[in-house]
């Protein structure tokens, strides 16, 4: 049985349909990649799953329960945690306090009156940013802020982790470290859903992949299945032919490398 199910999700902003009858499932204890070109509706899906955006229609189920209308903070108590594509660090607080706040909030009202002595440095060390613990969060490099976002989500004892482009802003070595960390998190029993443009990372660490294009799920399956899917190639290669912006091209390159032979 699936842990998280997105059922027939539609999100419209004015005249634009960001997500168009998308359905997909995430199994417990898996690492699932959500991929697709820019503007495919991936982040919108995340916003709906975490309760920041109300869908036009469709349902979100968690352990079989309909949570479509429950607010973001209640979903956090269910075990959801997320990171943001455009970073959402608490700029006025230190990196360490950013993580402490997650604990403060998780402890609820009673926790507010306990002394603030939480040791969170092991979490910072785990994602590899212990050196920045005392820096203000609005003064650290993007890559560090991204890992901080991850550490903060981990601190609040999440069981379902939604990561929005966790590797952007990271160098090659850090990306490799991230891949290993993600597998560790899954091995510990967490479920991870990740939007990611680095295809090498997605193909190497994900158990399953869902492909969105223009808000429609065009493919889902194991990395090998998705790689071989003609629709996926068309979606990606089609964009390539149009010679769209540089960002689009750079995120496509890895795919074109991996699937050159199956072209009809």
């Amino acid at each position: 049985m699936s842990l998280l199910a997105v059922e027939d999700l539609v999100v419209r902003f004015g005249g634009v349909t960001a997500v168009d009858h998308a359905s997909f499932e995430v199994g417990p204890g898996t690492l699932t990649g959500l991929i697709g070109p820019n503007g495919a509706g991936k982040t919108t899906c995340f916003d709906v799953i975490t309760g920041l955006q109300r869908p036009t229609s469709g349902r979100i189920r968690f352990r079989g329960r309909d949570i479509t209308r429950s607010p973001a903070h209640k979903r956090a108590h269910l075990g959801f945690g997320r990171t943001f594509q455009r970073l959402e660090a608490f700029g006025s607080l230190s990196v360490r306090d950013n993580v402490r706040v997650a604990l403060d909030i998780g402890d609820g009202v009673r926790g507010l009156f306990r002394p603030p002595v939480d040791d969170v440095d092991h979490l910072l060390a785990r994602v590899g940013i212990a050196d920045y613990a005392d820096r203000r969060a609005d003064s650290v490099p993007t890559g560090v802020a991204r890992l901080l976002d991850l550490a903060r989500a981990l601190a609040s004892r999440t069981s379902v982790l939604l990561l929005d482009e966790p590797s952007s802003g990271l160098d090659e070595r850090e990306t490799a470290g991230l891949g290993a960390l993600l597998r560790e998190l899954v091995a510990e029993g967490r479920t991870v859903l990740m939007v990611e443009h680095d295809m090498d990372l997605v193909m190497s660490v994900c158990d399953g992949i869902t492909v969105l294009d223009h808000g429609v799920v065009i493919a889902a399956g194991t990395p090998a299945e998705v790689r071989a899917d003609p629709l996926v190639q068309q979606a990606y290669l089609g964009h390539c032919d149009e010679g769209a912006g540089t960002e689009t091209t750079s995120e496509i390159e890895p795919v074109t490398e991996t699937i050159p032979t199956v072209r009809p």
Partner: protein, 649 residues
């Protein structure tokens, strides 16, 4: 039937004027994302300019109109946009609200300074000309106003849909960056919107002046009607805004016609627009959380508790010394400063730490004072109950707007302040119409504090205690959560924080502190009335708090002192009364972007002085150290800004 038709006509006339003002507000907001609280004040100032041209200088009516509407007002609007508001669209709502409230107060100051209070009148257009429909008499002025609103509506529609400039204005809302990429110039679109918006404010002001008179405050508060109409259009839809303006005009006119003119409900007629605003805000749909960038505010560093306690003790000793040196009359002023200081502490919590703006702190203080004045033999328990009452009222204001954020919450407080001012405080169960209530001095642990001097010392003690409580909150886990919620509500909600109840809690706490101040004030003055807790004072308080620094308790102390002395200065130098408001208003406009205010500059100065002193000491007496406690500047001098040292850690 004739009466009903007449009321309908008057309603349509006022509604037309409201619609014109509101459409200007919507235009500036939807193009530049700045909600101009000073919109009504602009209308007021340009109505004065029109009076100056047409009456004082005797220019023909048509020429005065052309000059004001097509030259002075648009140029003024563009200058405002260029000088004061450009660059605010990325700033938090609290900053843009403070800046435009500063503008409001500054403009009132300008008007008072340039046109000192005197009897002035602006005649209607074509005064004396009327048209009769059966037994209903319509003046040409009313017809012109209604026609003008139609012209404005049609003109704006054509501008926005049929012209390149209009397209650019609509695009600059959605994505100024993209507009720039395609060769559009968002700044031009913004300037155009402010030019037209200001001109519309001027037009509405000029049209209404013959009816409501050329008054500083009445015309400025017209803006509440404009807010209400604009809110019905959700600040974006012009047709709904026009519908809202008309509906409001009619409702107000019928209220005047058919609601009782006496008794406790007499005030109800004056607050129809405010009730309308409150209702519209409460019915607004949930505002989505904004997903943004990493945002942080460099705030004054929180002092160590020991040094804060030391400075607090010093302050109390100073007030004790003053109580021996000064006359009781002057001590009253010191006590007033303490009152204002405590109210400002409530803003440190709410605005400085929490990032929310309240335009109603004095209304909460008034609730506290009212509750205190109703007590027979006030003591510490009574004081606590008075503060608790105010805090419950604070929660009551925040609960209906639970789902809303920033701007709407602030406007709800504004509507609340206006309601308290015109309806509740004036009614017979409160202070009564222009009335006052007697209050007695408080007893502490069975001993009545009778003398003004000792009572003032007691108030200083309360200021210090509240300041210490605020600092303890800030240093603890709650303070950290407040700062986090200020920086990113989105991240906090995905971490499991229920922002709605945090907001209610913050409002309740802050209103409780303000209520405590009000109760103490009632005991100090021994008679209190509605005029002590006027709506306008809350605006001055907010500005003074921002100028002196709303992130530190030192800022609250300094701001309290200056706010207490402001009316004294104004009374002593009548000629400069307006200028004082100008300085305060535009000072807030200038400093609004830095919530740390002047207090923080003092900390930096103190820090620099102590470093220099230390260096000199070691140079002259090598090998010795400065005595401990000397080397680190004044207490709150430890509250200094450093980019990499973090508040609360």
């Amino acid at each position: 039937m004739g009466a009903f038709a007449s009321y309908t006509l008057i309603g349509l006339f006022t509604g037309a004027a409201y619609s014109i003002a509101a459409s200007g507000l919507v235009l500036t907001y939807s193009t530049t994302r700045i909600f101009n609280v000073a919109h009504g004040a602009l209308g007021m100032v340009f109505a004065f300019v029109y009076w100056d041209f047409s009456q004082r200088q005797g220019l023909p009516t048509w020429l005065s109109l052309v000059l004001v509407l097509l030259v002075v007002a648009p140029v003024g609007g563009v200058l405002l946009q260029r000088i004061f508001v450009s660059g605010l669209d990325d700033a938090p709502v609290s900053v843009s609200l403070v800046v435009t409230v500063g503008l409001l107060v500054g403009l009132i100051g300008v008007a008072t300074q340039v046109w000192p209070p005197a009897a002035r009148s602006v005649p209607e257009f074509f005064a004396g000309h009327v048209v009769s429909f059966g037994d209903v008499v319509v003046t040409w002025h009313q017809l012109i106003t209604i026609a003008a609103s139609g012209v404005v509506a049609g003109g704006l529609h054509l501008l926005l849909t049929r012209t390149r400039a209009g397209t650019a204005m609509r695009a600059s809302v959605d994505n100024p960056g993209l507009l720039e990429l395609y060769g559009g110039r968002p700044h031009l679109a913004g300037a155009l919107a402010w030019a037209i918006g200001t001109s519309l404010a001027a037009l509405a002001g000029i049209l209404l002046t013959p009816v409501i008179g050329l008054q500083y405050y009445d015309l400025t508060l017209l803006v509440i009607s404009a807010y209400a109409a604009a809110m019905l259009g959700r600040l974006t839809s012009l047709p709904l805004t026009f519908a809202g303006g008309m509906a409001l005009g009619l409702a107000q006119s019928y209220a005047v016609g058919y609601l009782p003119g006496g008794g406790d409900l007499a005030g109800l007629r004056a607050v129809v627009p405010t009730l309308f605003l409150f209702a519209v805000i409460v019915l607004m749909p949930q505002s989505p959380l904004r997903v943004g960038q990493v945002r942080g505010i460099v705030a004054a560093r929180v002092p160590r508790m020991r040094s804060a306690g030391g400075w607090g003790l010093g302050l109390v000793i100073l007030v004790i010394a003053l109580s021996f040196l000064l006359q009781p009359g002057s001590m009253l002023l010191v006590g007033t400063a303490a009152t204002y200081g405590i109210v400002m502490l409530s803003l440190v919590l709410l605005t400085g730490y929490g990032g929310h703006v309240s335009l109603a702190q004095f209304s909460f203080a008034g609730v506290g004072a009212l509750a205190y004045a109703k007590l027979d033999d006030p003591n510490l328990l009574g004081l606590f109950l008075a503060a608790l009452t105010a805090s419950l009222v604070g929660a009551l204001v925040a609960i209906p707007v639970l789902r809303l954020t920033g701007l709407y919450l602030a406007l709800a407080t504004l509507a609340f302040a206006e309601l308290m001012d015109k309806l509740v405080f004036q009614s017979s169960f409160a202070f009564g119409l222009n009335g006052t209530l007697a209050a007695s001095r408080m007893s502490v642990l069975g001993r009545r504090i009778e003398g003004t001097g000792s009572y003032t010392v007691l108030m200083a003690v309360f200021f210090v205690l509240v300041a210490l409580v605020v600092l303890v909150v800030r240093r603890g886990r709650l303070g950290r959560v407040l700062i986090a919620a200020r920086d990113s509500e989105t991240a906090c909600s995905t971490l499991g924080l229920d922002l709605r109840w945090l907001r209610v809690g913050m409002f309740a706490g802050s209103a409780g502190i303000a209520g405590l101040a009000g109760a103490l004030y009632a005991g100090l003055r021994q008679t209190v009335g509605a005029s002590d807790f006027g709506f306008f004072t809350s605006l001055l308080l907010l500005l003074m708090a921002v100028v002196w620094g709303v992130t530190s308790v030192t800022g609250a102390a300094l701001g309290g002192v200056f706010l207490a002395y402001l009316p004294v200065v104004q009374a002593d130098h009548q000629a400069l009364a307006g200028l004082a408001l100008v300085v305060l208003g535009f000072g807030a406009v200038a400093l609004g972007r830095d919530p740390n205010g002047l207090a923080n500059r003092l900390f930096v100065l103190g820090r620099w002085a102590s470093r220099t002193l230390e260096r000199e000491w070691t140079r002259r007496f090598p090998g010795t150290m400065l005595p401990p406690g000397q080397g680190h500047g004044p207490d709150m001098g430890a509250e200094e800004v450093t980019a990499d040292v973090v508040a609360g850690s």
